[in-house]
């Protein structure tokens, strides 16, 4: 490279750096980071979260914003990767954003939550259900969804009480969320007198389950609980059907989205899923559902309304507490209750919801679902 080129290059680099450090926008908006996966294998859930949160921001702004300021949603992609989640959390800290609605996956929420706690940033996750997240003694961490120690027992009791399989297998994907919930299910069914014949982890991203299916088929397994997300379960369902292994499967809310039907096709018919109650069916939310429908969006996803609620709680708290200080807001949120699309919510000392209900649904091949019972 000759000297002239080098000078041109350094001038160009300089220009880029200057433009990056351009004048900051006047602080007339309240920024809320919406952190979740917009890429990667579970981006479908990120869509639900972004959809709900953006709608909340839009509607609150349409009503004049919060204390005269508009809300601004800043989308951050953590791809559901714990490492990237920490990078995203650092970005949020550096951009001096004070409120976060996210993250989505338990595995990425946990490491990010430490940064938020240390930096005094208010975090509300609309989707991470692993109990450990709120057991860290943190003051800044909340969630607008139930936990796996509620979801697991719901599934476990149903298996032990209603299905009563002679041979039960429990599988999980070895991730914080999947393995956590699988253990909860095991605890509940064992208390109900059923001992699983198999408790095993599969690899995240694994595509070939034929050996495992053969083993379960030979053991005569009748019912399988799978803790994890839809890509692996979809392939499990599909390959089970292919091998002529007709056991029934059940999974947590991480498997309940359209893609399971896209992957497994007819094999997804009859899958049991525990999901938050379908808030979009609540008559109180009729206007909101209409607003989503008007934008051609589907409000029935399990994380849409919890994400909406997350943004709304932050906005209501800022109005109610008359402060933008995140630490004071956390205090206010803990002490008050809020009217949201997921019902009237109040929080426990640790940031969990006081009440949250999981419902069992039967999944259908056309990606619709009907409540069991």
């Amino acid at each position: 490279m000759n000297t002239i080129n080098r000078n041109v290059l350094s001038a160009a680099v300089g220009a880029v750096i200057l433009s990056l450090g351009g004048p900051a926008q006047a602080q007339d908006t309240l920024k809320i980071a919406i952190a979740g996966p917009t890429t990667g294998p579970v981006a479908q859930y990120g869509d639900m979260q972004m959809m709900g949160a953006k709608m909340a921001v839009e509607q609150i702004n349409a009503k004049g914003g919060v204390n005269g300021k508009k809300l601004e949603a800043v989308i951050m992609d953590d791809a559901c990767e714990p490492k990237q989640a920490v990078a995203v959390a650092n970005q949020i800290v550096n951009q001096k954003i004070k409120y976060v609605v996210g993250h989505l996956c338990s595995g990425s929420t946990q490491p990010a939550s430490k940064l938020y706690e240390d930096e005094g940033i208010l975090m509300i996750t609309p989707a991470a259900t692993n109990p450990a997240i709120t057991q860290q003694g943190y003051k800044m961490v909340f969630r607008t969804i139930g936990t796996d120690d509620q979801q697991g027992p719901t599934a476990g009791k149903y298996i032990a009480g209603t299905i009563k399989p002679k041979k039960l297998a429990i599988l999980h994907d070895k991730q914080q969320y999947g393995e956590g919930i699988a253990k909860e299910v095991r605890k509940t069914v064992e208390a109900g007198g059923i001992k699983p014949v198999l408790f095993e982890g599969v690899n995240k991203g694994q595509t070939d389950f034929s050996a495992l299916i053969t083993k379960m088929k030979k053991e005569g397994v009748e019912f399988i609980y799978y803790g994890g997300y839809h890509p692996e379960l979809g392939l499990l369902l599909r390959q089970s059907k292919e091998q002529g292994f007709d056991a029934k499967y059940m999974g947590p809310e991480g498997v309940g989205n359209k893609d399971i039907s896209a992957i497994a096709g007819p094999a997804s018919e009859g899958l049991l899923v525990t999901l938050p109650a379908d808030f979009s069916a609540d008559p109180a939310n009729a206007d909101l559902v209409a607003a989503f429908k008007a934008k051609n969006q589907d409000p029935t996803g399990p994380f849409v309304m919890p994400a909406y609620a997350g943004v709304q709680i932050i906005a209501d708290a800022i109005k109610g507490a008359k402060t933008e200080d995140a630490v004071k807001l956390a205090d206010y949120i803990r002490k008050n209750s809020f009217d949201t699309p997921i019902g009237k919510v109040a929080f426990k000392e640790n940031g969990d919801l006081k009440e949250f209900e999981f419902v069992i649904f039967t999944w259908h091949a056309d990606a619709t679902k009907t409540p069991v019972k």
Binding site: T207, S210, A211, L212, E219
Partner: protein, 309 residues
């Protein structure tokens, strides 16, 4: 665990062979490139991923046009995917390896990793980061064994994978063993400098090697998208790692070694899943690699005179 069952054992062998065939097809790309230029093509996993994407897209497109004959779908998909993927293989060699010929060994290695990252992100931008799925085109199979008891199931798709794999392996063996270009390949693998002196266009041989490796990876990709029906831009990494393991296990640089290594690896994973726990299958696969290398540092069928990295 209830006792040992011969039928289950047989089923696990079928499962393992299916998986192993796919590993073997990808492994050949690694081993051929290594055999000739003594370097690992780290972009090979991504080449396979592109093969799988092209396969899935072509099958879906054919479905839209109403083509429903399996042999038509298979032939058209293989042809298109091999063509597209092989051109990627050629481009990788042209851009990441040829300009760096003669530079220290680490340099093309890094450029290949760069290409790998580039391709992953390029497909992610072009096709989206999501899983792309497709319903099976070929379903059904044969059942053996007593009615009402455990039955061995051999699907048409598994047979198809085995047949296609054997066909392409035989083709490759004939090509390397009998054709003029194959002889040039073998000469380059023996001694590239000498082959060059004797008038063989070694650059062309190397390009052909990359193209052949990519073509076989495309075959694996098409089979995978037909069998599992799920691809995303990240499948190349793990598949590449497994195939690389298969190549080293069989003896890197040796084509029969790559075939053997793939099958051994597939069977090992299948048995680990069946008789230990599924979570141990990768532990067993890579443990086997370490074990074999300790006893036979050149792999199962490797030549002892290889002294490269």
């Amino acid at each position: 665990m209830s006792g040992f069952s011969l039928l289950e054992f047989l089923q696990q062998i079928i499962n393992g062979l299916t998986l192993g065939s796919i590993y073997a097809l990808i492994a050949i790309g690694y081993t051929m490139v290594y055999g000739i230029i003594g370097m690992i093509n780290f972009a090979h996993g991504e080449i396979y991923m592109i093969g799988a994407y092209v396969g899935l897209l072509v099958i879906t497109a054919l479905g839209l046009f109403g083509v429903d004959s399996i042999s038509m779908i298979l032939l058209a998909t293989l042809a298109i995917s091999i063509l597209v993927t092989a051109s990627y293989g050629w481009t990788v060699e042209r851009l990441a390896y040829r300009p760096l010929r003669g530079s220290p060994r680490l340099v093309p290695l890094i450029s290949a990793i760069g290409v790998s990252i580039f391709l992953q992100n390029y497909v992610q931008l072009g096709q989206g980061a999501r899983d792309v799925s497709m319903q099976p085109v070929l379903t059904g199979g044969w059942r053996f064994g007593p009615e009402g008891d455990f039955q061995v199931y051999l699907s048409y798709m598994q047979v198809l994978i085995a047949v296609v794999t054997v066909a392409f392996m035989t083709g490759l063996t004939l090509f390397i063993g009998r054709s003029r270009m194959g002889r040039a390949c073998r000469a380059c693998s023996e001694d590239r400098a000498m082959a060059n002196l004797l008038g063989i266009d070694t650059d062309r041989v190397i390009a052909v090697t990359f193209v052949l490796g990519a073509a076989l990876a495309a075959v694996a990709g098409v089979l995978v998208s037909m069998y599992y029906g799920l691809v995303n831009p990240f499948i190349g990494f793990m598949a590449g790692l497994k195939a690389f393991t298969a190549a080293v296990l069989g003896g890197i640089g040796s084509i029969p070694g790559a075939m053997l290594g793939g099958v051994v690896l597939g069977l090992a994973e299948s048995f680990a899943s069946a008789y230990l726990q599924t979570e141990y299958k990768d532990v067993v696969a890579f443990g086997l690699l370490i074990g074999v290398l300790l006893v036979r540092p050149t792999g199962l069928l490797g030549r002892p005179d290889v002294e490269k990295v």
